[in-house]
Structure formats: C-alpha cells, structure tokens
Symmetry: C2
Subunit: 705 residues, 2 copies
Amino acid sequence: MDLSSFITSLTTSFLIFVLLMLLFTWLSGKPGNEFVYYPNRILKGLDPIEGGYASRNPFAWAREALSSTENDIISMSGIDTAVYFVFLSTVLGILALSGVLLLPVLLPLAATDKSRKTSNQATSNGAFSNLDKLSMGNVGEKTDRLWAFFAGTYWVSFMAYYFLWKAYKHVSQLRARALESPEVKPEQFAVLVRDAPALPVGQTRKEQIDSYFRSIYPETFCRSMVITNNKKVNEIYEELKGYKKKLARAEAVYAVEGTRPTNGSGLLGLLGKRVDSIDYYTGKIDRIIPRLTAAQKATLRENQQAAALVFFTNRMAAASAAQNLHARFLDKWTVTDAPEPRQLIWSNLDIRFFERQVRQIAVYVVVALTILFYMVPIAFISAFTTLANLKKLLPFLKEVVDQPTIKTILEAYLPQMALIVFLALLPELLLFLSRSEGIPSQSHVERAASGKYFYFSVLNVFIGVTVGGTLFSTLEEIEKDPNSIINLLARSLPRNATYFLTFVALKFFVGYGLELSRVVPLVIFHLKTKYMCKTQEEVKESWFPGDMGYATKAPTDMLILTIVLCYSIIAPLIIPFGVVYFALGWLVLRNQALKVYVPSYESYGRMWPHLHSRVVASLVLFQLTMLGYFGAKKFAYTLIVIPAIIFSLVFALVCHRKFYRFFQDTALEVAARGQNEPAPNMGQIFRCYLPPSLTHEKVDKDGQP
Amino acid sequence: MDLSSFITSLTTSFLIFVLLMLLFTWLSGKPGNEFVYYPNRILKGLDPIEGGYASRNPFAWAREALSSTENDIISMSGIDTAVYFVFLSTVLGILALSGVLLLPVLLPLAATDKSRKTSNQATSNGAFSNLDKLSMGNVGEKTDRLWAFFAGTYWVSFMAYYFLWKAYKHVSQLRARALESPEVKPEQFAVLVRDAPALPVGQTRKEQIDSYFRSIYPETFCRSMVITNNKKVNEIYEELKGYKKKLARAEAVYAVEGTRPTNGSGLLGLLGKRVDSIDYYTGKIDRIIPRLTAAQKATLRENQQAAALVFFTNRMAAASAAQNLHARFLDKWTVTDAPEPRQLIWSNLDIRFFERQVRQIAVYVVVALTILFYMVPIAFISAFTTLANLKKLLPFLKEVVDQPTIKTILEAYLPQMALIVFLALLPELLLFLSRSEGIPSQSHVERAASGKYFYFSVLNVFIGVTVGGTLFSTLEEIEKDPNSIINLLARSLPRNATYFLTFVALKFFVGYGLELSRVVPLVIFHLKTKYMCKTQEEVKESWFPGDMGYATKAPTDMLILTIVLCYSIIAPLIIPFGVVYFALGWLVLRNQALKVYVPSYESYGRMWPHLHSRVVASLVLFQLTMLGYFGAKKFAYTLIVIPAIIFSLVFALVCHRKFYRFFQDTALEVAARGQNEPAPNMGQIFRCYLPPSLTHEKVDKDGQP
C-alpha cells in the first residue's frame, strides 16, 4: 500500500465519521427520536435530555460523557459497564504513555537511518514507501539504534504492568463496594446446588434437599426451590404469550379503526376461513390456560431435577456455603453461588458433573478445530483481496479496477472489509458452543464465548494475516530458499503494519460513527412504529436498546490492542491510532452507556480477570514478536528480551494469586459488612427466581404464587 | 550379569533374610528385649506379647500380622498407617493380577522365539544369558508375538485403574470415618490464620484478630492464640531442660552409688574446678527460672507475629472457615485448617504469603538442579561399578577380583550397594528444603519431601541407570553411528532388567530382614542402658521407637514399583520379585506398625492423593517405555499404545476432580455428623496448642497456664 491510498483510506474514514457525528447531533435533537437516543434514561424514569433541546451544540454529548463520573456509570449501567470503562482507560493509559516516549524518540531514529539503503531489496518492488520509512523495517541490521527500540519494548511492558496493577486493585474495590451495599439482591441469599445424589426410597427431591441442608445449616437454612425441566410448560407459555399479543393487537386495531379485525384460522393466520380475531384469540387463550395450569402442576410434580436453589436467611451463610465442599465427592452436591434470577439458564442446571466436564472438553476441541480450519480461508481472503491478485484471478474486473479513484478506494478497503464481515459471523456460533458446555449463567456463557473469540481473532486475524499474507505474496521466494523464511517474516511485519493501520482506522471511525449515530436502530424504529406496531408493548419492543454486547466488543478491542502493542515498536506510528481508537471508544460508549443501552445482567465485574489476563497475553505476544524481530535484525543482545517475558508471566501469576479468588468467591468480610438488618423478605427473594412460565397464571389470579 | 551371579545374589539375599528372621524370633522372645520389639504395645499400656512367650513359634508374628484387621491398625497406629497399607495392598493387587496372566503367557512366548537368533550381535559379547532369554529382548522384530506383549501392556494398565479406583474410594471412606468420630480433636476446632494485615494504630495484634473474626463469626468465634516468635524462650527452655536432666542424672547416681557426683564448672562439664553436681545444677536451675519467666512474658508481649490460631465453638464453623475466602486479597488473612498441635511448625507461621511463594519456587529450582547434577555421579557410579570397568580403572584389584567367589559376589552386589548407600543420604536434605518452603505442618513437610524424593529416585536411579549404563558401556558404538541410539536403548532395557532384579531382591530380603530383626536399635538399646542411662527418662528415650518414616519409605516403594511396572512386559520375570517385595513389606511392616513404631502425627490420610498420583505417574512412565520399546522393535501398531497413555491421564484427572478436594478440605456433611453435644471444653483445646516453652513454669506452679 502506498502513501496516497493510505491517506485516502484515512480521510474517507474520517469524513464518514464526521458525517455520522453531524447526523447524530441533528437526529438526536429531533423530538420523537429520544426513544432511540435516550432509551436508558427513559426507562430509568429520567428526563431524556438534561437542559432541553435548545442548549444543544454538536459536542454537548461529548462534554457530558467526559464530565460523567464512575458513579454515574454504575448507577445508570452497573458495575460490569464501569469495569469495561476501567479496561478502556487502562489500555488508553498504557498506549498514551507509551506513545509519549516512543514517538519522539523512535520515529526520527527510524527515518534517519541510512545503513539499510545500500542493500535494500525491498525498495525495488515498491513495498517501501514513505510511510514504511518511519518503521523499524528501515533500521539496518546490527546497528546501535536497535538499543532504543529494545528500551522501548521494556518501557511499554512496564507501563502495562503499572496500569494493570492499578486497575485490578480498583476493580476489586468496585466489586467489593457493590457486594457490600445494603440493597437486597436475591442472588446474595441463594446458592445453586447441582448433582444431588440419587433419591433415597420414599423421599421426594425437595425433602432430600431440605433435610440435607437443614442438617448442615440448622440455623441459617431457609428454603429450597427444586429445579424443574420446564421445556413443555415453556412451550405452552410461549404459545399463550403469542395469542395474548395478537389479542392485544386486535383490540388496538379495533379501538383505532372501529371495525373488528379478522384473520384466517389456518396456517399463520393467513389461510382457512376468516374469523373474528378478538373472539378467536380470546377462545384460544381460554382453552390454553387450563392446559398451562395442568402443565405447571405436572412440571412441579414430575419434572423435578437433581438440582435446586437453596435460600439462606443471611448473606454470610450463602457466601460461605458457595465456597464450601459439602459432600466427600466433588461430583455430589456441587454448591456454587447463585447467578441473578434473570441470567439463570434453567435448561443447563440438570447436566451432571462429569457430563459438564466432557461437554467442556468437546467444546474446546470443536473450537480448536474451528480456529484451525478458519485459518485457511482467512489466509486465502487476505491473499485474494489484494488488488493485484484480484486482477489476476478475475481479469474482467481490470477495466473497472484500473480507474484511479476506484482503484485507490478498493485497495484501501477491500481487505479490511472482508475481514470485518468475516468476523461478524462468529459470535453467535461461539455463544452457542459456550452455552452447550452446561454453564449455569448467561454472564458466564458470554465470558466464555468472549474468551474463545479472543483466541480466534488473535490467532486468525493477527497471525493469520501476517503469516498468511507473507506466505502467499512471497511463496516463490520461499520455494527458492526455505531458510529465508525468518527474513521474510521480519520484512513482512513492517509491511503489514500499514494494513493494520488502516484496519484500526476503519474500525474506529466508521465503527464508532455508526455506534454513536445509531442509524440502523433509528430506521428500524421508525419503520416499525409507522407500519407494524399497534400496541404500546410493541412500540416499546421496537426501541428497547438491549445490552451493549460485551462478548463481542471486548475481543475486538483486544484484537486492536494486540495489533497496536505488537506493532508499537516496529511501527510506532500505529500508537496514535490505537490511542484514538480507545479514546473515541471510551467517549462514544460512555454516551451510549449513560443514555442508550440497558444491561441485561450484572456480574459485579467478573469480566475483569478475563480482560486482565488477555491484556497480559497480548503483552507476551508483543514481547515474543519483538524477540523474533530483534533476532531477525541480528541484534546481538536479542536474548535480553526474555526477562521481559518472564516478568510478564510472573506478573500474571502474582495478580492471579492475589486478586482472582475474590472474583470467584465472595470474601466473607465483604459479605459480613453487607448484612441486612432486619432480615429481608425471604418470600420475595424466593419469588424472584420463579420463571414466569411457572407462575404466570397464579400471579394473574391472586398476585401471589 | 550371567545366571550364576544372579543366583548367587538371590540365594545370599535369601539366606541373610532367613538368618535375620531367625535372629528376630530368638531375640524377640527373650525377656528384656520387649522394649525393642513391642514398644508401641508397651506405650499403649498393653501386654507386650499376647499369649506369653511359651506359645511362640518362628512364624507367630506373621500369623498375627495376617490376622490383624484394618481397625487394629487404625487403633494402634492411626489412619496414616492404615492408608500406607492400603497403598501396599493396592500395588500388591496390581502386580499379582498382572503376573497371574502375564507370566504363563509371555515367558514361553519369549523363550521359544527363534527369529532373533540368526542376527544376534548381543550374544557375542555375552549379554544374552539364559536369563535374558526369558525377556522381550529375545523376541524378534516385527513378529506377531509382539501382539501378546502389547495386550499385556493394556492388561497391566486396566488392573492399575481398577485397584486404584477402589483404593481411593476406600481411603476417602477411612478419612471420613475418622473425621466423623465424636472424639474431640483440637485441630477440628481451630483454624490457622496467617498474613494478618498491618496493625491499625492503637490496637494490639490480639485485639485486631479477635475483632476481625468476631465480626465475621459473631456466634461461633471462641478465642484466638497469637503466634509468637519463640526463638529466645525456646533457647532458655532447652537450657533449663538440659540442666534438669543433668540434675536428675546426678541424683540418680547419688541414689545408686551413695557419693555425690561432681563435675567441672567449665566447658562441657569437663574443665574448670570440680563442683558438687547436685548443688551446681540446682543453682543453675534456680537462676534460669526467673530468666525463663521474664522471657515468656516478653515473648507474649513483644514477639507477637501476624499469625494466629483461631478457635471456634464447633467443628462446622472451623471446617467452613478453613475453606472460605476472608479478605478481598488472597495475601491478607489467609485462613487454612489448623494442623495437630504436635505437628505445628511455629517458626514457619510468620512467613508472608508472597515470601512463601518465592521460597517455594526457589526450593523447586534447587531441587531441580540437584536432580540434574546428581544424574552425573549416578551415571558414573553405575558405569564404574561394573566389575569389568573397575578392573580396567584399578588394575591392582585384578588379583583379588579374579578369584571366582569374590568376583561373583562383587559382581552381584557392587552396583546395588553403591546405589543404596547413595540414596540413603538424600532424605534429610529434602526434608530441610521442604521445611524451608514455609509449610506450617510437619506432615505436609514430609509429604513435600516425599514427592521430591520420588522424582529424584525415578529420574536418577531408573532413567539414570538405564540411560547412563547404556551410554557408558557403548559409547564407542554411538560414536561410530549416532543413529543407533534407539536400538541401543532398546537392547539395553532388557539387559538392565537383571540389574534391577537383583536390586529389588536385595532391597526386600536384606532391607526387610533388617527392619524386622531391629538389630541396630537392639544393640543401641543394650549399649545405652548398660553404660549411659541413669534415670528412667533416659531409659525410655533409648528405646523410644519413633515414627515409621513415611517420607522415605513411600518413595522407595514407588521406585521399586516404577522399576517393576516398567519391566513387567519387557522382562515379566521381575513381577514375582515385585510381588514378594510388596507382600513381604506388607507383612513385616504390619508387624512393626502393630508392635513397634509410634506415629508422630496423624494427617487423616492426606498422604493418599500423593501416593495415588505417583502410582499413576509410574504407570504413564511404563506406558511411555513400552511406546518406545515397541517402536524399537519395529512393531507396526506401536501407536495404539498412545490411547493407554491418554486413558491414564484421564483417569488421573477424573480421580483428582472427584476425590481430591476432600483430602484438602473437610466436607461439611462430614463435619456436621461429628458435631459434639455438649460442646467440648474449649480451654483444654486451647491449651493443647500452647508450646511447652511458654507454659512450662506456670504449669509447674499451679497446673494452669
């Protein structure tokens, strides 16, 4: 890629971003759009726009985001979101402080090096453009200038340790504060019990569980809820909900239009003879309710599983029970802390201990295979989508492609677009796989998927593109001389830097522009409210913003971080791009967290240890890259990069030892501080965990399950 | 080694064993020796010999050992000893059932194979004797007979899985039964607290600890004992004890001889002017007691450390507290279960969390280096101590050595003796290293040392001798053709088999003969009582038998097991030797456990998981050996040994998952079953933990600390 196409890519990205931001300012000020731009505030019962529309200027949102405190974020969006911002600002700190020292030192050193010019083969094939002169590729082998790059490696590493340590402490503090708060959270009074042993003769599951826990916790045991297999009752409940929705819709249509709507009684309400909708759905509902009640009774009686939620009268007892070994064998009476009611995955609870283990191993194998076999297409994509290759493969494109503007744009975007589209397909697959492991809570599933996604993107995108791109473009050279592969990699690393530079720029300008302007949700909202939504409920559904989507955001950030870190010394010019990515991300997402998204669960910062260890993993990958690259540059003291790798591993170990367990178990001093006086309403806590399909009709009748 | 020297070795060993056993029968029946042969019974207040001396026959001890039940062992020697016998009988089971199938099948197959005879180089240099014909070395390459050996590999593996699984379940049951017993054990009411944070201003350590635990356990917290640095008070106490002993001795001499003994007032009681001993030591004691009392007060006041024992009013609370995370950071308020009072290592308790980690890593490095550098001398020893090499190196020995009898004996024993002497030097070093890790209990230190010893012996002895012996004897061949190394190893494995066969035989006949006859303790006892002991206390000291010495017994057994397992298919003749070793071991040690040794601590079977995983490790080493050996035999289906290795690893993982945690933490259902009604005397439990140096004088005065 030459300088002009790089500049084109950058300016187009930036223009798109400016355009989207202006669009956002204009649209978010228009009345009627507040459901798209301020749903979180609306749902929390706040005035959508503080200060009214008049005082708005295009950067008001940014000012508000900047002036918001961590406590604002916690109150509007929870601890998990606050932790995500700690992650963003930590990475920002690492990159900013690295850049402050590295840019003024390393760029001039690279640009003014003359030692390489004499024997430079790369210039001949045009790979060394002006841009590449600013990278380490321009520094000659064995020169003393390499010492500066070497020192830079250590500087980046120590910045990372410093900020990560501070952040881990801070997040631990955030988690403790949340768990200490006197507010009653049902999950703090419950534990999840799995793998109850076979029923003794003449006992029901409930009796077995109650007697077991009452004997161990005679004073603090409160009651238990046996997990049932709700598949059948859920189906009926969904059917009922569907009819109720259709009934409400028909009634709304009747109220507005004055004529009673009709529908077909056959397939999808389209075929069959026309009937009066209100009567039809009322009849359906009347017929289905006894079925639901019967199914509820049958489920509660017959579908009891070997798992239960056990409730304690105080937090201490629950926190302690979740950490203790109860039976002699670990695969009997497994007790863990209870997830929030809203994120409990009922269908996973009955999976037995060793089946969970087997499932986990199977899923890991599947993921490893997928990573391996995705490598192949990715390498092909990055090889094919260079324009020169495309022309060779599809000669009829030559006419179009040779026009200068199109050529520049295509050259700038084609590979990156291919990559981004490709990565968008993955998350759902990984979520499904993680859920199949038998994990009991949604947040845990998302963390697991997020981890897999990270390995995926780092291994495939970063290593795949670097190695793959190099291999394909220079396969012939390798055939001639297999020993040249290290030299090739060393040469290809700086060459790929510009590719990743554009990738990062595209990601932040276009990605965050789209995120902020919410063009797609806006269009959907307006289309839906205009043509489809009839009832209030349907309208609300059409603008409900949902979750911010941790599971896919974090690994993408991690990928960017890995790329920026790995190139931070080789091509320091990438650092400002990384800084802008994370700064812009912080700003835009801060706005979205405060005003748009509604978190679908709260795990009190359990995501952090994963983020932390992945940042350290990126750091190690960076150090390994430098080890290899210094080696390729024939730097005599290459091996003194190794202590940095050892430091990183020790740092990871120390952090894990010191901090991790609190993210797994609740420390008793924290639980003790949060004791509730007087004891909370245990009936209410119990009812939080009842799934709607089991309580629905009873609640309708007397308000009490 | 040829057949005749093998037979010589075997018969001499056996004769020594018979001799020692007869000696034992004769000596143990003689009155006055009961303190050497029945100390455990005497200390437990039992009649030394049931049924009196008259009814003794030479095998009465064996009959008694065989008819003793596991409960006898538990009541006479505790759970730990019972677990050791479970280990012995498990290994015995594995080897016996392996032998039953393998010997009748594999030996004829090996002996009758003719395919190898034609191209046998090894015969020429005499390595293939009659004995070696019974080994797999005699089976030709690529023959179908290898299938039988292959099936044997799987048979041994499955026998191991079966017996190990049964044993783990059984030991878990033993441990549960012991922990459930209503007998009051102080360690079940206490936890060990380490890493208390820095003292807040104006609080003493005791106040800090009490207030912390009282706030978390308002109902079950009883009291705490702050750990002090007792170095100085211990020194004074030891000095006092020394003087008291000397005083008692002087008084005993006076009582017997009627003249007041004298001693020098200078160095060691030998130099200086002569003084009256009784007056002299009484004066010393009178002067030292005030110093001790002052030191006790100072210690309790000023030497308080950031560690404590915390006592709870019931077992459940203590069992639960030991498993819980108390503070947010793992390196603050570390709570673990309390060891027994007698095995608590006070001086290790104050070492801080991360210092412990660093010490542990440092010790591992030291051990790894020691293993590495011991490899060199061991390899030399095994090379030098073959007679041919000795003659070459020390030609003047030729005269002596060439006499047939001496030659045979030397050839039979020299290498084995060298090895055994060498291994005897290690345990103390390893115990010292393990103690330096900062481990709080003696049993844990011994387990850790035992683990190190295992790696030591397996890596050095087994691999060192096999590889080293081969390398030295055939260094020239390798120089000629480096690729021949695999063939060399394959050929050397069966050749080394006879070496190990003699090693095992020596070990069991002579080792267990000495163990049973207790010749050395007997001599020491008689010498001491005759010439040195004056007081009753000194006599008791002279016959006190001490511990059985787990830490060194188990790794030796493991080494034998590893050798026998690894050669079980290659040279099946080794199996009966293994069976005899473990059967004889079981029998002899059963006698010793019932009548001689007094366990110095009780860890309720915590040794088992270590034994278990090391047996599995031996099994894996065996499977790896077979993988290599089948490969060297050019067996086409060699790779189907790999599933066996995977089975072993999965088996180890499953066992670890299912059983291990109960050996680390007390399961609450077990603790709940053992609840004491009414609550025990907490003051008494507290006093158990006070070290004698801190309570000595107070107890003397009013019987109450």
